[in-house]
């Protein structure tokens, strides 16, 4: 692949889009360990570095736990740092992820969604990102290769913002997006510099420097712990409006936007809604259009921000519908449904009591086909007509 730092349009994979985005943000440190289906991100970044396009400290690590500790330390020393992982790699850095979040270290990480250990599956699935839900990271989920590139760039703006200072994880489906080649608009590095420039005018975040002692995560007893947790929680809540703000600026500069926390598709007059995330959103759009052509008033909600959970915006869009379906590419043990479904059910006091249907599809590379989504919409229609319905449906 011929490399250029000028603005260009190229057919590249989702993984290459992530690597390009990371390079354009001029990280000081990259440390990552390859794993299917993420390997190409690491290979590309290593090659960019070896060929002189990416001027950074490239740390070859022996595993993901070290990768996470390296990028955490790099950001605490004031640097910009990037890593990427998937599945087994993500859970291998589980303890380190808590550290990164607890230290408020603004790492940006790509997680290529793949089924986690247990049943060995080198296959797409969102269970990995669900399993790190409560580590205190911001989590975004995206739909196509362009959105991967754009969101990684926005992630640095979000993570390093003085009012946020949290690690950000950008998730995209393995196989269906990681290996998908599409035409992608790649901005020039000067444009990306301009977009990130505002960070330089913000107050400098506390840094670990030789000879200057700073306590980090070392005084977590009783009230000190509670104070840090409350501050972390408050920063997490600020992410919602900050994301929309930095996306507006992104749109003004690059001409593309994604709706911030959630995107509504044909929801205005919709009587019923389907909520989902990731690559299934694109397929769902085509099915929504087809069902609309048949006269069914159905709309789609794309969940883009998973942590913090966009409670307010979701409540607003879900309220007043006749039935709601939620499509998950993962499962929620102990609740016998999909995890996004479980969280959306928790909005019932705001949304009102209507039939809510959980659909589980796309586990272990199973294809979330147009036919499947058509069946889901048919089931939501039927529930909206007050017919009895199954609360949880596994497809196929």
């Amino acid at each position: 692949m011929a490399v250029s730092l000028d603005r260009q349009r190229k057919v590249i994979t989702g993984n290459a889009a992530a690597a390009y985005a990371a390079m354009l943000c001029r990280p000081d440190v990259v440390a990552a360990y390859p794993i299917t289906p993420q390997s190409e991100v690491v290979e590309q970044l290593a090659k960019f570095h070896a060929d002189g396009w990416l001027d950074c400290e490239y740390v070859t690590v022996e595993g993901e736990n070290s990768a996470q500790n390296v990028v955490c330390a790099a950001t605490m020393a004031g640097g910009r740092a990037f890593t990427a992982t998937s599945s087994y790699g993500l859970v291998y850095m589980y303890d380190a992820m808590f550290n990164t979040a607890g230290y408020r270290a603004p790492v940006v990480m790509v997680n290529v969604n793949r089924e986690p250990p247990g049943i060995h599956a080198v296959c797409a699935g969102q269970q990995d990102m669900i399993s790190v839900r409560d580590t205190g990271w911001v989590q975004l989920v995206v739909e196509n290769c362009q959105e991967i590139l754009d969101t990684v760039i926005m992630a640095f703006r979000l993570a390093e913002d003085f009012e946020i200072q949290l690690p950000v994880m950008v998730n995209y489906d393995g196989y269906y997006l990681s290996f998908l080649a599409e035409s992608v608009d790649i901005p020039g590095i000067a444009e990306v510099d301009r977009y990130l420039e505002v960070l330089k005018s913000q107050p400098r975040r506390p840094r670990l420097l030789p000879g200057q002692a700073v306590g980090c995560g070392s005084h977590g007893i009783g009230t000190g712990y509670v104070e840090l947790r409350k501050k972390h929680m408050a920063a997490m809540e600020r992410v919602k409006s900050k994301l929309e703000e930095i996306e507006e600026e992104f749109a003004a500069m690059f001409g593309r936007k994604y709706g911030g926390q959630i995107e509504e598709y044909r929801t205005d007059d919709a009587e019923i809604l389907l909520v989902t995330s990731g690559s299934a959103v694109g397929t769902a759009r085509t099915v929504i259009d087809a069902k609309r052509a048949e006269g069914i008033n159905v709309g789609l909600v794309k969940l883009r921000l998973f942590r913090p959970f966009p409670r307010e915006r979701l409540s607003e869009v879900l309220r007043g519908r006749k039935a709601i379906g939620v499509l998950d590419r993962s499962i929620c043990f102990g609740w016998d449904c999909g995890p996004l479904y479980m969280e959306i059910r928790a909005l019932t006091p705001e949304v009102g009591i209507v039939p809510m249907l959980s659909f589980i599809d796309g586990l272990a590379n199973m294809d979330i086909t147009k036919e499947h989504i058509g069946q889901m919409i048919d089931a939501i229609v039927s529930a909206a007509q007050k017919k009895s319905y199954r609360q949880v449906t596994w497809l196929p």
Binding site: M1, V122, Y175, A181, T283, K370
Partner: protein, 184 residues
């Protein structure tokens, strides 16, 4: 409607994934929207691999596998025995086949048109290895007219360079000029 869907069948190491991507690059050269991805479990040489390419004059939103292909590109003739190989091939669809022997009859009742070339022999001659993928892209371009040979060669240049690019250009050109198109 310009939309077409192509399904590639090969074995790990024969370049099915890259061929599908190179076809996407070739169609993008002509200003089309494109999407291409493979589907396999483990990366292993010799394992059956499926890859998909879509092109359209509209943005491609669906992220699903291809179930009703307009063309099937079979890079490894030993895959002809796979039961599901021809599943969903459209009645007006075409089979682009690497075959060491001329086809005398349709390899499956749902095949009514086939473009056949001994791409392994061409690749061994032009590249020195059994990598028949780019030869079949030339054959596909000729048999369908969906994309020009020039665009196919431009697509190769997005993914290959130097000597390997030159050899594959010869491979694709020979596929284009030497393919035999049969109908039943």
């Amino acid at each position: 409607m310009l939309a077409k869907e192509i399904r590639f069948h090969g074995r790990g190491g024969q370049g099915a994934v890259l061929a599908a991507r190179m076809l996407a690059s070739a169609c993008a050269v002509e200003g089309k929207y494109v999407a291409s991805f493979p589907m396999f479990g483990f990366e292993r040489r010799g394992m059956p691999v499926v890859a998909f390419t879509r092109f359209d004059d509209q943005p491609i939103r669906e992220k699903t596998q291809v179930y009703a292909p307009d063309a099937l590109v079979v890079i490894d003739p030993t895959l002809l025995g796979i039961r599901a190989l021809f599943d969903g091939l459209k009645p007006e669809g075409i089979l682009v086949l690497n075959s060491p022997r001329p086809l005398v009859e349709a390899p499956h009742p749902s095949v009514h048109k086939a473009a056949v070339i001994n791409a392994t022999a061409v690749a061994l001659c032009e590249i020195g290895r059994d990598v028949p993928n780019t030869c079949l892209l030339g054959a596909l371009a000729r048999a369908t007219g969906w994309v020009s040979l020039d665009s196919v060669l431009a697509g190769l240049a997005e993914h290959l360079e130097g000597d390997m690019l030159k050899k594959n250009i010869r491979n694709a050109e020979r596929g284009y000029h030497e393919v035999e198109v049969l109908t039943w």
